[in-house]
């Protein structure tokens, strides 16, 4: 018999002498951090997706190099960005004092792919192959022009830190499908593009004013995958099992004396911790994946901590019912030497992102999993620094950028929204950050105006006081 079963049985037998089984099962549901039921009333309507995998491209990939094909830029090369296009748009302090704003066309070739005829650049050959699975949104826009506020905005719906992250909102609203794993998992990787790229912050997956049990749990590639998961040296599995049993007995004695339900909850938390000690290593151990899986995700997927390895883990997490899986891949902040750096970034991510979508599809999981790929803003069409024959850089651009979505609830094989010939302004169907958030929630069966939490007298929500579901991308 597995020790897990033993302790669970113990738990129920002990508990039945306590406050009553009905109350207890409710307790179990409500107090176990990771096996929680949804809030009353949620889902608000039938969900299309059960979970989300968000592939966050941190640093802001250039839309012009990857997906938003702008052939006319070649003839505008080196010419000054017209005021009629810039329209007084505020620029970051990094380029606002530049004496000129020369247009820099992309150096990379584009072609149309799939039945949908989506334009994808040569940098993304694998993504190009799954173009018919994807919905490209070319009309994303944001209000922030610097990394910290911009990424905070995507994560929390507000530019200033302090509010819960989207994953925390979903854990709070939807609960978890898996009682042995956290409901919100985060994985971080460093790209080969800009090695001195923007930092990330724990608060990006924090719970803000929601209880801390909803915060994302970061899975790490070195050391313990979850902090303090491993027993200390010299403590074997059987020792820990015995320890949990003894602790349970002692806490049960405490409960019998004091009658505080928190004590029973704590007994359950230790059992959950014990189960995680098995379930997490089992999850992160990819050694038993067949060779063709690694071929699919690319050679990097064998190296722990790479984006490709994290994509593979994302699939394994989604198989196990984790609600919100978020990858952050750093290195996209290409102010200088963009042509060189972006090649590395694409090599890091292209194959594995495409493999993940394909893998989910082959396993029948894509229908119920929403995959989102994108960064925190776009990049400028004008050159930052010196424009030469084979080198240029791009500054931050909030007014338009491209993301893609796939899977649960999303219409495949379409392009939504469009930008002008300079790739500077949106010409149709703008999508605000709050709209994207509302749409993600919608796919999960949540009305974004109704997932609220009262704090400081206000009913806060992820989308602040904004957001509308982007109907045009829904299946």
């Amino acid at each position: 018999m597995k020790p897990i079963d033993l302790t669970r049985r113990h738990f129920f037998s002990r508990a039945s002498t306590g406050i009553g089984v009905a109350a207890l099962s409710s307790l179990l549901q409500q107090d176990l951090g990771a096996s929680e039921s949804a809030l009353p009333g949620i889902p608000h309507f039938a969900p299309k997706a059960k979970r989300v995998i968000y592939l966050f491209q941190s640093g802001a990939p250039s839309q012009m190099e990857l997906f938003d094909y702008k052939p006319k830029l070649v003839q505008y090369r080196s010419s000054e960005l017209p005021d009629s296009i810039r329209q007084g748009q505020r620029l970051t302090g990094m380029t606002s004092t530049q004496s000129s704003f020369p247009v820099a066309p992309s150096m990379f070739e584009f072609a149309q792919h799939g039945n949908s005829g989506a334009w994808v650049s040569q940098l993304m050959p694998h993504t190009a192959k799954i173009a018919d699975q994807l919905c490209f949104v070319k009309s994303m826009r944001t209000e922030a022009i610097n990394h910290d506020p911009a990424i905070t905005f995507f994560q929390t719906g507000f530019q200033i830190a302090g509010r819960p992250s989207i994953g925390a909102w979903l854990s709070y609203g939807l609960g978890s499908e898996n009682k042995d794993l956290p409901g919100f998992v985060v994985m971080v990787s460093q790209g080969s593009g800009n090695m001195a790229d923007q930092p990330l912050y724990d608060r990006l997956w924090g719970s803000g004013f929601l209880p801390s049990k909803y915060q994302g749990v970061k899975f790490r590639s070195t050391g313990d995958p979850v902090l303090f998961l491993s027993d200390p040296p010299g403590v074997a599995k059987a020792d820990r099992s015995r320890f949990i049993d003894d602790l349970g007995k002692l806490n049960q004695l405490e409960y019998e004396e004091f009658g505080d339900p928190e004590t029973t909850a704590r007994i359950a938390q230790y059992e959950m911790a014990y189960r995680m000690q098995t379930s997490v290593p089992e999850l992160t151990d990819i050694s038993k994946e067949p060779a063709h899986t690694f071929e699919l995700y690319g050679p990097d997927s064998r190296k722990p901590g790479t984006y490709a390895a994290n994509c593979l883990l994302a699939r394994r997490l989604s198989e196990r019912g984790v609600r919100f899986i978020q990858l952050f891949h750093r290195g996209w902040d290409q102010h200088n030497h963009l042509p060189k750096q972006i090649v590395g970034q694409c090599q890091d991510t292209d194959q594995a992102s495409a493999a993940l979508v394909q893998d989910l599809k082959e396993r029948g999981l894509l229908d119920e999993t929403l995959v989102v790929w994108g960064g925190e803003f776009g990049r400028t069409v004008y050159c930052q620094g010196k424009l030469t024959a084979d080198d240029y850089g791009r500054d931050h651009h909030p007014r338009c950028f491209t993301i893609w979505m796939a899977g649960g609830g999303i219409k495949p094989g379409i392009t939504y929204g469009a930008t002008d010939d300079y790739c500077y302004n949106i010409t149709e169907n703008p999508v605000d950050v709050h709209d994207l958030q509302a749409t993600i929630l919608h796919c999960l069966g949540i009305d974004h105006t109704k997932l609220t939490f009262k704090f400081q007298g206000r009913h806060f929500r992820l989308t602040d006081v904004h957001g509308k579901v982007v109907k045009g991308v829904l299946a």
């Binding site: 910290d148 460093q190 990330l200 801390s212 040296p233 002692l250 405490e254 339900p261 928190e262």
Partner: protein, 1042 residues
Amino acid sequence: MSTRPVSRALFFLTAGLAPILLPAQDTPIQFNRDIRPILSDKCYTCHGPDPGNRKTKLRFDMESVALSDLGGRYAIVPGDPAKSEMIRRITAENKAMRMPPVASGTSLTPQEIDLLRQWVQQGAKWQKHWSFIPPERPALPTVKNAAWTRNEIDRFILERLESENLSPSPEADKERLIRRVTFDLTGLPPTPAEVEAFVTDASPKAYEKVVDRLLASPRYGERMAVRWLDAARYADTNGYQTDAERSMWRWRDWVINAFNRNMRFDEFTIEQIAGDLLPNATLDQKIATGFNRNHRGNGEGGIIPEEYAVEYVVDRVDTTSTVWLGLTMGCARCHDHKYDPISQKEFYQVYAYFNSIPERGKAFKYGNSPPAIMAPTVPQQHQLAEADAKVAAAEQQFAAMKDQLEKTQSAWEKSLKGKPALYWSPERGLLADFALDAENSKLTWEPNGAEFGSDKIHPAAAFDGKRTAVAGDIANFDYFDKFTLAAWILPTAGTGAILTRTEDKPEDMGYGLYLKDGKLQFNLIDRWLDDGARVETEQALTLNQWHHVAAVYDGTRVAEGIRIYVDGVSQKFKVHLDDVNQTFATKFPFRIGGGSGPENRFHGRIADARIYQVAITAEEVVMLSDPLSLNELVAQPPANRTPAQKHKLQLAYLSLAAPKPIQQARERLAQAKDERVKLTATFPTTMVMQELPAPREAFRLIRGAYDRPGEKVTRRLPAVLPPLPAGASNDRLGLAKWIVDPTNPLTARVAVNRFWQMYFGTGIVKTSEDFGSQGEWPSHAKLLDWLATEFIRTGWDVKALQKTIVMSATYRQSSRITPELLQRDPDNRLLARGPRLRMSAEMVRDQALAVSGLLVEKLGGPSVKPYQPAGLWKELSGGLEYVQDTGDGLYRRSLYTYWKRASPPPSMMTFDSAGREICSVRETRTNTPLQALTLMNDVTYVEASRTLAQRMMTEGGTTPEDRIGFAYRAVTARVPSRAQKQVLLDSFRYNLDRYQTDRKAAGSLLHEGESPINPKLDKSELAAYTTVASLILNLDATVTIE
């Protein structure tokens, strides 16, 4: 929200009210308690204070409007629900007519509708919002069981219990009581000896003696400070992007000391908000103002400074109003407050008290941003006084030689006449000096060799627009370094590098003094366009003429700290960029006449190039730029000599020819001064508030946006609150005095409520951050007012307030929960039992350190870096790495743990620490598997288990039973029951067997942590006890204050 399965609780939860706060059936409806919360939550969004959202004239936050004639109809007809449109609409069958509208997403519960109807029936009586009415000292309630009460608090608590037909719980047993009060007042457990003393002390004053001892302990200030640091969003890093270090620990220590000295709460308040504006403000009073500089600061490249300048001020208003007034003023940033009577304009009127400090929206990426002051600690202040005394003594000794000096100098001056020309220049801080009059082994000439010409000043080196002299790896200054560059130049073309240390291409990283179109440019560059300083003199030099040029930088990272001199005269300059944010140190060599690319080679001649590692004074520059030789100087009659010339002669004499005793006296003086400089360089700095001479303008910002100013506003307090006290100035100091004026209805209530929350887990007003109309009605309104008025009456005596609370019978009750009580009052708001709460994050760790004997107690000082899993910082930023301390730094109390906002200490966060990004005043407690993993496996706890086990074996007697009893008592203050002991003994035996069989495993377990292993102890046995100690440290009873 706790989630106990109690049906009655669920019923009321849906009504939006805590169950116990509802009136009994027969009590009359009270507007503030029963009605306002419903109107506020469900109606004010459209019928409230904010006109932006109001769809009609009708509003329910003003009685006059709510009762007014709406064209023949009345929303509310007092006493007549049937004629009241409001009641008709909230009960309308027709969905289109129903209020609140379906589309609003809110609806009224049947209970709420019933309450509203009853209220109208009973006459629809209005009340001003309770927290805006000044507290009046309530009469003490009469209670039946007066014998139970110990002080006034108990009367109020008991009155409510008796009305609910509940009885208080008996007093907690002495072990639990002393453990509870010791944690609550000091954040640490009692020692077994302290427990023993209390248990055996039969005197009626036994408990009070303990309380007095704890209040007098320096640990008290540390405990009180922690929650204040959460409220003040105190941290060791700047918070945005790179999230580099700042230094605010002097402020943190000020808070600890203030609590320990029992500083009156009104002074505590005034000094933190406006200590800088007090007459003759002391260093401590200035340090105190760091409260409003603890907010995060953004130094990310490319930000728009104005945007963040607004954020900082908004943060100050938010934090100050939350902490002292319990008001969510921040809600009025973008529009009028939706629930409370605070208009958007009023928000910006309060904003205007906080925006007049000489700060910049773009903070320094590294370190403290201005305004900051040097903040020596008390021992350092003593050292400074000593250093000052040494300088004074040396000055005196030197001055005593004045006559001798003048006499011998005069003789020396005479001796110079007719001798070969002798030159001298200031030597203080001279790092390198290139005469450039001949070949010099320290210089390499590129591309091919040097050329020298003779000239009236020097036989200076010639530069032809190609040649440059490379001085190698010297003068690699960085942005905190003071330095000076100086040279004689004879330019023949308008553009060229004079002295530089940069890569040899244009606009690249490094520093340098250049000639550009005839003007002098001085650049300190990380990134040319946005990270560095670039200044340029207004006036061009005359070409083909010798000039002395100097650039001085004082290491302050601002253009204000730069001086440029031409021929000894300070020049006006234009600031092209003033944003020194990151290092400009480079690996490239120091050059003369070149650097920054071939297009920037110097044309003409350069002589006497000098690098000083100090910021030389204006007078020293004048001396440098004086072309006269000493012989020529002395040839002038003394009356014609300028002061600088006189001084130069003296310095030259002292350096070249003065008799030994004089030279020695002068050297001693220089040394004393140098030591003082070195000493002050070790002093910490701290950010403070300062006031600009004239207030900065403030505007109402439309939608709260920095770039959309509306009308101008001036400093003014919200109309709903009392005006400034008579005689108070209309500035931050006046505001601070207003906050603690006894007529302010909020401050004392908000403060006592937060202290109450520290002991009972929940405030009397549960929403301790919000006393506005969306806040919760107090569970014991009269008690809150009694405590508030008592706090003011006792002169804001913080320790006295704590003592009153912990001396009460209410506080001393047992926290045992009966099933009946759990049903009736799951959240313990009525306090028919004592608090039983999981400890705060700091207490969990500090307890483990204390009971294991690892704790290093030391009050204050820079933050420390205890154990943390490797790589946590690096994997997020790729930059800074956490460098764990060794020794004492591993074992200090948790409030000293280095707080990096982007990556806070994980064990602290797991146990619900506030993130310190923004103000946090409410405590939360969760119960998660990650907490279990931390307590079982974090090296902190594994090591503490081992050292506790060592104590068990060396201090805990000889038998396993005794040793287990020892540890159990050390941790929980109690003696284990027979059943508990049995489980622990069984565990010990299992583990002893296990580790005797596998001694290697024992060794591995024991090697966790840095503290030494007691070599005299048997390893297997120690490992077994380590596991038992770990069991005890993991107990529910251990991490709970019972």
